[in-house]
């Protein structure tokens, strides 16, 4: 796993880990069955680092993000912040949520239609009883690129464009001076034309404030646009992770390869067969094996790992900064 020592790896190791998920499992019971939405995840976010978490719909990205924020209790495993295990008492959580902020997928939904921009941004400050509320709001808005801030104070969300709304949500998060921003699909519901702007804003915030961020998305282009590191998630687990340049230019896991092939610039398209995975029925062996194009094409059998793929569960990837893939075939051939 440590065959190649890349520059990105070096960068990651120089950054101290700020937020970390250790062997995280989150289960839901749905219709009498148990859905293992997050099924063993190790993930670390360093200070000032932007990590992208990508994967198809329903693979557990949002659940992971929510668990990192303490909005969901893990079934097992732990979330660590600044080296300490997350404490779920409401007081400690409140304190924790000053440091770590969440930006949700849907900016329109994230704003209470009855609250003005001012109220929306001031909400966090009010909850935490920060002094100089107006000051806080003003600076948060201008940092989020809504300038001059006071022009927006009394606007209602429906009077803003989608991009502006997303900025308001980001400003609401920035108002508390967080160390980490977890952005769940921050541009998915935005028009293509404004998406670039928001991403640029994230980059700028990292540059100006040294913010760390976990960006949850199903869009590989987004990861390419802004992330230092990328983690690819499939069915509750991270199947490949590593520096963006490495993972996205030379994907090793067949699932990542399939994801990449969907991009317009990709020469040939791998369309995965079968239904989207169901977290209530996680197959044994490699969890991807039922849809794996490598296995289906017989390449895995050639490499002699087909049986492994079908029967032996893979170990959970550790949270290192290096490129790594949870795949018998990839690990066998490279």
């Amino acid at each position: 796993m440590t065959e190649t020592q890349t520059a990105a790896d070096a960068v990651a190791t120089t950054r101290p880990t700020l937020l970390e998920a250790r062997d995280l499992h989150v289960e839901f019971s749905s219709r009498g069955r148990r859905a293992r939405a997050v099924d063993g995840v190790n993930l670390a976010i360093g200070a000032g680092e932007i990590v992208a978490l990508v994967g198809e719909s329903g693979c557990g990205k949002t659940t992971l993000a929510r668990t990192l924020l303490g909005l969901e209790r893990p079934t097992s495993g732990e979330v660590r912040y600044d080296g300490d295990v997350l404490n779920y008492s409401s007081k400690a959580l409140k304190e924790y949520r000053r440091q770590v902020q969440l930006v949700l997928q849907d900016p329109t939904g994230s704003l209470n239609p009855r609250h003005t921009v001012y109220e929306a941004v001031a909400e966090g400050a009010r909850i935490h009883g920060l002094p100089d509320e107006q000051e806080v709001v003003t600076s948060a808005l201008s940092r989020a690129g809504l300038r001059p801030p006071d022009r927006f104070f009394l606007r209602y969300p429906h009077e803003l464009s989608g991009g502006q709304r997303q900025r308001v949500v980001i400003a609401g998060a920035l108002a508390l001076d967080p160390k980490v921003l977890i952005a769940d699909e921050p541009v998915a519901s935005l028009d293509a034309s404004v998406r670039g702007e928001i991403l640029a804003l994230l980059l700028k915030l990292r540059a100006d404030l040294g913010l760390s961020a976990l960006v949850v998305t199903h869009d590989l282009g987004l990861a390419w646009n802004i992330a230092d590191r990328v983690a690819v998630m499939y069915l509750g687990r991270i199947v490949e992770s590593g520096p963006v340049e490495q993972v996205l230019t030379a994907p090793r896991h067949p699932y990542t390869q399939a994801l990449m092939s969907v991009l317009p610039e990709s020469p040939e398209r791998v369309v995965l067969t079968g239904e989207p995975p169901d977290p209530t029925r996680i197959p044994g062996g490699c969890r991807f094996h039922a849809r794996c194009q490598i296995l289906a094409s017989g390449k895995a059998a050639e490499a002699g790992v087909a049986d492994h793929c079908r029967t032996n569960p893979l170990p959970i990837l550790p949270s290192t900064a290096d490129a790594q893939a949870a795949c018998y075939y990839a690990n066998n051939t490279t």
Binding site: R66, K94, S110, N112
Partner: protein, 293 residues
């Protein structure tokens, strides 16, 4: 900035009014309603309890409407006009207080049932559902019979039997609001139960609550009169007790149609007014309906 905020609020209000004004029936209802409430409020300036006193009544019995007695008199020669006026106080009081009681219970339980997941919410919902299917008039009648007749018992009986529909409505609305991402955001910002229910849920259910209150008042007024008819009445003159008296004293068979008609029409007018206002409010405030309308 506060002045701007006030201006904005004023603007929102005027926008609301602009929307509301387009519901002609709602405006008509509002006019009647305001008139009725005002009349009830100012009644003590002009008349008093004596208009319901049989001892002090001077009129002829069962006198048909005339110039002197525009709505005629009852079996004791009391003026129907004045009695209806005075009785509006009790009827409206019962209507408002019963609705208030029902709304308060419904609001608290509805919000709680919607907000708290798990067994607490489920249990609350079970209780609500249970109360919801109880035939409310029958239950109110039993309650009134058990508690004995007085204005307060009637209010209690109506309030206690009508809250579940409010609770259900509020719960549905709460669930809808709680499913909105801004609740999640608020939680992520560190907001607790109190913060979320008071800052997000309440303001969101309030408009609907307003609409449902007006409908509730309407049905409470009808229920009051029905209970009075079935024998559970307040000990004060209300429209319901007047109708009951018109029935007891055989107004119909004596041809004293005004005695039956006037209080009945008073109920009809006010209830209709509340209903129209309620529906108009609902149409303006409930985006689902607004889209449809």
């Amino acid at each position: 900035m506060t002045s701007v905020a006030a201006a904005r609020r004023k603007l929102a209000l005027s926008r609301f009014w602009g929307e509301y004004r387009r519901h002609r029936a709602g405006v008509a209802g509002l006019v009647i309603l305001v008139a009725a409430v005002l009349l009830a409020l100012i009644a003590p300036l002009f008349i008093g309890d004596e208009v319901t006193s049989v001892v002090e009544s001077v009129g002829e019995k069962f006198a048909p409407p005339s110039l002197g007695e525009p709505f005629g008199t009852d079996e004791s020669g009391r003026s129907i006009l004045l009695m209806v006026w005075w009785g509006s106080r009790t009827s409206l009081l019962i209507g408002f207080l019963a609705a208030l009681l029902s709304i308060v219970i419904g609001l608290v339980l509805g919000v709680a049932a919607g907000h708290f997941r798990g067994w607490a919410g489920a249990a609350l919902m079970r209780v609500t559902d249970w109360f919801l299917v109880l035939p409310s008039l029958v239950t109110a009648l039993v309650l009134a019979a058990i508690l004995g007749g007085s204005t307060w018992t009637i209010i209690m009986a109506i309030g206690i039997t009508t809250w579940p529909s409010t609770a259900r409505l509020i719960r549905a609305q709460t669930l809808a609001v709680e499913a909105r991402p801004y609740i999640e955001r608020s939680k992520a910002l560190g907001g607790g139960h109190w913060h979320i229910t008071t800052r997000h849920v309440l303001p969101n259910v309030a408009p609907l609550l307003l609409a449902s209150t007006t409908l509730e008042v309407a049905s409470a007024i009808v229920t009051e009169s029905t209970l009075a008819f079935l024998g559970a009445s307040s000990n004060r003159t209300s429209w319901g007790t007047m109708l009951r008296a018109s029935y007891d004293f055989g107004a119909a068979t004596q041809g004293a149609w005004w005695y039956i008609l006037i209080p009945g029409l008073a109920i009809l007018a006010v209830v209709m007014a509340f209903t129209l206002v309620g529906r108009a409010l609902e149409a303006v405030l409930n985006p689902r309906l607004r889209r449809a309308a």
